[in-house]
């Protein structure tokens, strides 16, 4: 009995020991690359938004500027955001902009091309505080706005901006 018990115990230890070693061998390279791939970024209160915006537009510390722009506008008006369909960068920029645009209500338009003329022409400018273009071309008839790197532009809508 004692011998059988010992064999069983040895088999048990070998099985779990083997599984443990195999798990470590598979895991360690993945964990190692996860640990060493990322240096410490900024520790600012908006560091996640800043990282996203830098990744998508190349501009550092853009979040604070965007918040300032939105806060300078009437909070009772909407922010209109245009993003490009099937463009993950554009979509991400649009959602990050919506995040930063509080307390404004926002409206996200996902358009098929890169020219939002049709959608813009249907809007009532009196209800819109700003239009944001995320990797979408601004129509030429709309005045230029604040550009953040490549692909992000915030256009404040004033009376004179009406078509």
């Amino acid at each position: 009995m004692t011998v059988r018990f010992s064999y069983g115990r040895i088999a048990h230890v070998l099985l779990w020991g083997g599984l443990a070693v195999a798990s470590l061998l598979v895991s360690i390279p993945r964990i190692y690359s996860g640990v060493t791939d990322h240096p410490l970024h900024s520790t600012s209160p908006l560091h996640t938004c800043d990282s996203y915006l830098k990744f998508a537009t190349g501009v550092s510390g853009a979040s604070k500027d965007m918040i300032s722009i939105f806060q300078s506008m009437s909070a009772s008006k909407r922010i209109i955001i245009f993003t490009c369909k099937d463009d993950a960068f554009s979509s991400g920029l649009g959602m990050t902009t919506a995040y930063l645009a509080a307390p404004h209500l926002v409206r996200l338009f996902e358009i098929s091309g890169t020219h939002p003329d049709n959608e813009l022409s249907k809007m009532n400018p009196d209800e819109v505080a700003a239009v944001v273009f995320c990797r979408v071309n601004r129509p030429h008839w709309l005045p230029a706005g604040k550009v953040f790197g490549s692909g992000l532009e915030v256009v404040s809508i004033r009376e004179k901006a009406r078509r």
């Binding site: 990322h38 996640t48 959602m95």
Partner: protein
């Protein structure tokens, strides 16, 4: 100044949780320090987020955090008088010290990873966004947020345990700080290791087995470095820890008359749907397991009241969303028999996708293979009341999650699966660790080894000994 404010936020949270723990346990059982810290954190985050939400219906501004802080401190004071002193500590052996050192290093790495990574996409746009907007509005999420169709992408219908824990930090800090908000998530990792060690010791009477398992938590990439892991600000890992605590307490409550753990089970159960919407499925499974335990241990029918707090939270949140005119989630079709029968052809591809995920080595390493071996071990112990509970707690959520995708409204439902299945499996992964723990300890617990510490052993895994709990 920020460090002091963080200390204040975490201090009140722990003190409130400790008070609740003491009130639930009511001097019936001794808890180790790690258990006290773990349950204080879980109950503290749950209580503070619930209090912020409920009081936020009536007050806002400085009064809101003041009121919640007073309640937390009062709970702590009451708890201080209620709690049984901890059992005498024994000196750890060198192997336990070695394992403990490894775990400390792992925890340090998880904190480091959390700081060098940004909040994940969902971490920012589904969870932290609610904390930020609530902070900017005096501690209350603005009503316009729920009705704003432009922000429907951020899922206003998601529950508030995680966002309002972040809000609690913001209220103490005096600003919304995405960097400081991330400190919450590695703490959940710490709590997870504490729970694995503590539950392991209760089940087996051996500390080292729990320490080994806790050390292996780190080596599952989905827990440490993947999307939705413990570092990205997602609610999935915290939910998995709440589920671990719920099932762990329920297993300890399988011992007759162990009402202290049953009370803790009820508290953790109630918080599952408050952490994430998917927690509703875990709540259903854990509640079913609880009903099984009540019937099996012939407890009085008043124990069914354990399901009541969770039901209250589920219904309360639903009512609140309806009152706020929050949009319905657009990811799923209406859940009815008609939709189910018309999408039955999805089941086989879904099952295939699940199997593919199980052997996704970069995400899971050999974790699910190890769990499968553990399950094979436990199948021989089905007469033990804990075994069917553990197996149900592991498999039923996976089956239900899979069935949910039958109702996916995504044009390519397999893409929906691919994006979220690993995070859903994460919810039950710690239960997989419990199964592995019991399987590894099987040989050990058969030997009539003396229990070293009074009051910390719950011998659920013992197949040849009478199940018992050594109460203080």
């Amino acid at each position: 100044m920020s460090a002091l404010a963080l200390l204040g936020a975490y201090g009140t949270l722990f003190v409130g949780g400790y008070g609740l723990l003491a009130l639930l346990v009511r001097q019936k059982i001794q808890f180790s320090l790690t258990e006290q810290i773990a349950f204080s954190w879980l109950l503290g985050t749950g209580a503070v987020s619930l209090l912020l939400w409920i009081f936020g219906l009536f007050v806002h501004g400085m009064l809101l955090p003041g009121l919640v802080s007073i309640i937390c401190l009062s709970l702590g004071l009451v708890g201080w008088r209620q709690m049984v002193p901890r059992p005498l500590r024994r000196t750890p052996n060198p192997f336990e010290i070695f394992l403990g050192t490894i775990i400390v290093i792992e925890i340090a790495i998880v904190f480091y990873l959390s700081f060098v990574h940004t909040l994940g996409w969902d971490g920012l746009l589904n969870w932290e966004i609610k904390a930020r907007y609530a902070f900017a509005n005096g501690g209350v999420i603005p009503a316009t947020y729920f009705s704003d169709s432009g922000r429907a992408f951020s899922h206003p219908e998601y529950p508030l345990a995680i966002p309002f824990t972040e809000l609690w930090l913001y209220l103490w800090l005096g600003e919304a700080d995405q960097f400081c908000a991330k400190t919450i998530f590695p703490i959940f990792y710490v709590i997870g290791t504490f729970l694995v060690v503590a539950i392991g010791r209760r089940f087996t009477g051996k500390t080292w087995i729990g320490l080994v398992m806790a050390a292996f938590l780190f080596f599952v990439p989905q827990i440490t470095v993947e999307v939705g892991s413990a570092i990205g600000g997602y609610a999935d890992f915290p939910l998995s820890i709440f589920y671990l605590a719920t099932i762990g307490c329920l297993l300890c409550a399988t011992e007759p008359k162990n009402d202290a753990f049953f009370g803790l089970y009820a508290a953790c159960l109630a918080l599952l749907p408050w952490v994430k919407r998917d927690g509703l499925i875990l709540w259903i499974v854990a509640a079913a397991c609880g009903v099984f335990v009540i019937l099996r241990t012939k407890r009085s029918s008043r124990h069914f009241l354990a399901l009541f707090p969770g039901l209250l939270i589920i219904c309360g949140w639903r009512f609140y969303l309806s009152a706020m005119h929050a949009p319905q989630a657009a990811d799923f079709l209406p859940m009815n028999l008609e939709t189910f029968s018309s999408h039955l052809d999805r089941i086989l591809p879904l099952f295939s996708a699940l199997l593919t995920e199980f052997h996704n080595l970069p995400t899971w390493s050999l974790f699910w293979f190890v769990v499968a071996v553990g399950v094979a071990y436990l199948l021989g112990q089905m007469r033990n009341p804990g075994t069917p509970i553990l197996l149900t707690a592991l498999f039923l959520p996976i089956v239900l999650y899979l069935l949910i995708y039958v109702f996916s409204s995504w044009p390519n439902y397999l893409e929906h699966v691919g994006l979220s299945i690993s995070r859903l499996l994460l919810h039950v992964a710690p239960v997989g660790f419990l199964i592995t723990l019991l399987a590894v300890s099987r040989r050990r617990v058969k030997s009539p080894a003396p229990v070293h510490e009074r009051g910390v052993t719950c011998t659920i895994a013992v197949s040849e000994r009478t199940p018992m709990v050594e109460l203080a």
